[in-house]
Symmetry: C2
Subunit: 358 residues, 2 copies
């Protein structure tokens, strides 16, 4: 038996033997840079709103700010295998969203200056430990590991071969210039991408080579003023406001102006991109949904026109017409975008954002 | 209170009041035509292999044949709301696949001769009861309800307004000509579409306006001869063999020729389309996976060339090069296609199949 083992080890190249997650050495991700954070003063590392908002903002917004959408770990390693060990806070399950998207991780590698998908880490429960990729060629490379879109992280460790090195990145990608800030809804937060890298703000981050900050709050992109105040403290290249699915035309008339004004008080000239409500595929059948979307998009145009009339030369308007294509196949449930929808939305927003990300 | 109720009913139009699933009348789907079945003699209605194969084929193939991938109910109704009540047999859960895709339903409507997505029915457990769409304009229309991709159906009822009619379709769409038969793997079965309509055989069914028969068996597209024998009994417009992800180059060399021969014994001239292994995005990092895919695609070309050499003029070859695009973003896990991947694969296969579907 022992001879057989030695025979196997000698005769078969090492690459042919599957690596197990247990055999990796793990490094706490807190020793590596995290990107996508709008605020340094969060309660815990992998969160999206400043601690000072805890008793100020509505509880659902606060709770959702603990979901990690838009955050990613950057690192460099010469390991030919990479894994992860992570514990989520909520162990969230939804029926129209993969668990890989909700609470998995998603690894990309910088290849010829472009971020290329390597593989996702599929969660197995509240705590997961998996090999993401193995049998890679020798050599040091730069990586980005996206964090869960719809769950919080209690702990995250990155696994590499025991003989390998893992360290902070050397390359600035995404670029360290001013980030793009997205404010919005479940769709903005990434519902329902199959994996974190396919949420449209993350796709745009790769297309623009620019850090993004995701302030999408599922069901709660309701123009909360304290969120606008927090956003206004960020030195952003531009702000994208994509919250219409969570508001009514009446709520927009009540709050949108003041929401803009709060941003303008601190950031008088930063471009603000106002996005219409996407044209939900099921609105071509449900007449009530159709009317609600039409009303909101009319209201947004009025708010935009009024803002321009006030002399604001740095607001931009994105019509919904082409945002998710015309196949009516871009969603899982008439509302939430799949990867197919997110790719189309990113393609449409890219030329608009490109101008403001210098 | 009673006056208030009467006031509300009179003043607010009916369409503004949300319909509940309980308020619908339910019709057993067994009274309506099912499409996508290759065999009439199944044990239960919503299954994919003939009952005679129960003790002949391998148990995993048999069990997977009870998943409803490719099946759909066709009907016509004047109801302005449509719902469903259904019970699945397995209540399957996976971490890289939405439950809506695994065990939900997916409703399409025939609009100007094209199938348009209406909405999906998101499962809530082993038994679910949901309103799929409401507030539709008055008028009779044709519908197609796709069944679960990765679970079996114990029971299915379709819900309409109590005053509405539901009946068999009047329009032949998809056309009743010879169906396209797909043989393959988890990907062929629809993993990991966000909803049933987005599995690539179902997309192609709509593009071609032709019934398809899905013989994809997750992890088990292993060239089983008894499945080839069953396939050979189907009067197909063409056979698509897309099983490479489930076999090794060695297994292909052992079984692929005989698999073709079994089909050719009964169907000497029906076009057979042999599809290469898709180029998994993670194979650009995992060298072993890369080699395995390259080996299988070389083996397939040799098998194809040999088949042509034997005088078979009705075999066609689909290279993997462009099948899932070149963004490397088409999968959830390096292997299984998302809606984004399936749309690209359907677009690539469409011109090849179009020639054989007359």
């Amino acid at each position: 038996m022992r001879h057989l083992l030695i025979f196997l080890i000698v005769v078969f190249p090492l690459a042919a033997m599957a690596i197990t997650a247990d055999s990796l050495k793990y490094v706490d991700a807190s020793t590596l840079p995290v990107i996508g954070k709008g605020f340094e003063d969060t309660q815990n590392r992998y969160e999206r709103l400043p601690a000072t908002l805890q008793d100020v903002t509505r509880p659902p917004v606060w709770n959702l700010s603990k979901n990690c959408s838009g955050l990613a770990i950057r690192f460099r390693t010469n390991s030919t295998a990479i894994g992860a060990k992570w514990e989520v806070t909520g162990d969230v399950v939804m029926n129209h969203f993969t668990m890989t998207g909700i609470k998995g991780l998603d690894l990309y590698c910088l290849e010829n200056g472009k971020w290329q998908f390597v593989n996702s880490a599929r969660p197995t429960g509240k705590t997961s430990q998996v090999v993401i990729i193995q049998n890679m060629p020798e050599g040091e490379k730069e990586y980005m590991l996206y964090l869960p879109l719809y769950d919080g992280l209690a702990q995250l460790e990155i696994g590499v071969l025991p003989s390998a090195e893992i360290k902070a990145p050397e390359v600035n990608s995404p670029q360290t210039g001013k980030p793009v800030v997205f404010y919005g809804t479940s769709i903005t937060q990434g519902g329902c991408a199959s994996r974190a890298g396919m949420a449209y703000p993350n796709i745009l981050s790769r297309m623009l080579d620019r850090e993004i900050i995701n302030l999408g709050f599922s069901g709660n992109g309701k123009l909360d003023y304290e969120v606008a105040e927090a956003m206004a403290t960020i030195d952003a290249s531009c702000f994208v406001i994509d919250c219409l699915p969570n508001v009514t035309a009446d709520l927009m008339k009540e709050k949108y102006d003041r929401f803009l004004e709060i941003i303008r008080e601190k950031k008088p000239e930063t471009p603000i991109i106002m996005v219409e409500n996407i044209l939900y595929p099921h609105m071509y059948f449900d007449q009530n949904v159709h009317q609600a979307v039409v009303d909101k998009n009319i209201a947004l145009k009025q708010i935009f026109d009024a803002q321009e009339k006030k002399g604001d030369r740095n607001v931009y308007y994105v019509k919904a017409d082409d945002l998710i294509g015309h196949s009516q196949e871009a969603t899982v449930d008439g509302v939430h975008l799949t990867d197919f929808g997110f790719v189309q939305m990113a393609d449409q927003l890219y030329p608009v954002l490109k101008k403001h990300v210098k």
